[in-house]
Amino acid sequence: MTPDEVDNVFGELTAGPLTPDASGAVRRARSAILNDLRPVRPLPSSWILTLLFAGTFAALAAGSGALLGPHGFYALNGLERAAIYPTLIALALVAAMACSRQMRPAGGARRGGVALLLVLACFPAVASALFRGYSTVDFVPGGIPCLRAGLLVALPTAILVTWILRRGFVLDWSAAGLAGGILSGLTGLGMLEVHCPNLEAIHILLWHLGVVAFSAALGCAVGWIVDIVGWRSRARTSRGAA
């Protein structure tokens, strides 16, 4: 076969009748679809969904930080505030974009991994440039409450993010879980940067950033389980139908 012949064969493959079995499948699908045909309102555009996710982050991070007491905000000087908060907002926008892309099929290249890498690279870079102090005195007793509080804020964020994600049609829950976990973790981190007055670099790098790492890992694991449960239940349904 020559390359031209190969192209002709590909051309032959693009057209052609359906097999009788396939025609039957199409007929059944068409009948089911036409019986359940109702107008639907298209999902808002990606940038609106991104803003929705980012708004969730901002509202919960600032709200819970203010509710618990903005001691961290007052402990930071002007330069530190100008570096930390815009960095967090930029990272949250990347995570929000990753979430919104998961809501529709063919929504764009996955960005969950990129968001996680950016968080794990940018935030430590900014925090280590601004803060000093690597003392391990009172390290664990001082860190556990921060990790716990961060995760407690990440949890309602994750519930809200999942609720928004379910308005769309998620194909890959592992990737969606990762993106949602990062955004939820960033909300916890944002709250800690407003609330926690401990400016020791090692405390921020481990206990504050740990909220994002933990939340991302948990989100990915939960998404993976949802995927498995989903295709198992579909398998059961199709076996039952057969």
Partner: protein, 184 residues
């Protein structure tokens, strides 16, 4: 007759009509896209055996997800992204069944192959030598007639990655063709 169901209406127009519950548009869309989807499943090794069932399952998922299509955007990447995951789910299901159950009867390899010529069978054998990801990209580009950008959207990857996979697939096919010519 609604505008969206005119015989020469594009897939995007038909999809918008389908979202607005226009049954003629939905029917026309199903008629136009089903052969492409069937070829897509049939040319993937992991989904070939159940191509007809997958076609039906894909339409059910498309119906559930129809609100996520943005009017005006290319419809094929959106449809093929759903088809891709339907195939992957089927692959996982088959693997699970094969892992747990012992087959006592020999089943036919292909449940329902579309009518094909000898050349198509030859091409299919060549495609069989390609890794699944390269074959998937090649089928979308050459059989479904999608652009590089559309394939990138359907596979949630970058255009660069699609170009690389297509290039490797062409290179493998070319060497298979040259090998075949030398053998003759």
């Amino acid at each position: 007759m609604p505008v969206s169901s005119a015989p020469d209406a594009g897939l995007e127009t038909l999809m918008s009509g389908y979202q607005q519950a226009d049954d003629e548009a939905a029917t026309a869309l199903i008629e136009k896209v089903s052969p492409m989807l069937l070829r897509f499943f049939w040319l993937q090794a992991f989904s070939r055996r159940h191509a007809d069932d997958l076609l039906q399952e894909t339409w059910m998922r498309i119906h559930k997800a129809r609100h996520t299509y943005r009017p005006g955007e290319p419809v094929l990447p959106w449809i093929f992204a759903i088809a891709r995951y339907t195939g992957l789910d089927s692959y996982r299901k088959t693997r699970r069944i094969e892992f747990r159950e012992t087959q006592v009867e020999v089943l036919p390899e292909i449940a329902a192959a579309p009518p094909v010529s000898q050349d198509v069978a030859e091409i299919d054998a060549m495609l069989g030598a390609l890794p699944e990801s390269q074959r998937e990209v090649l089928v979308m580009l050459k059989v479904s007639g999608m652009t590089m950008e559309e394939v990138a959207r359907a596979t949630s990857s970058s255009i660069g990655s699609v170009k690389q996979k297509a290039h490797r697939a062409y290179r493998t096919l070319r060497s298979a063709l040259m090998g075949g010519a030398r053998a003759r």
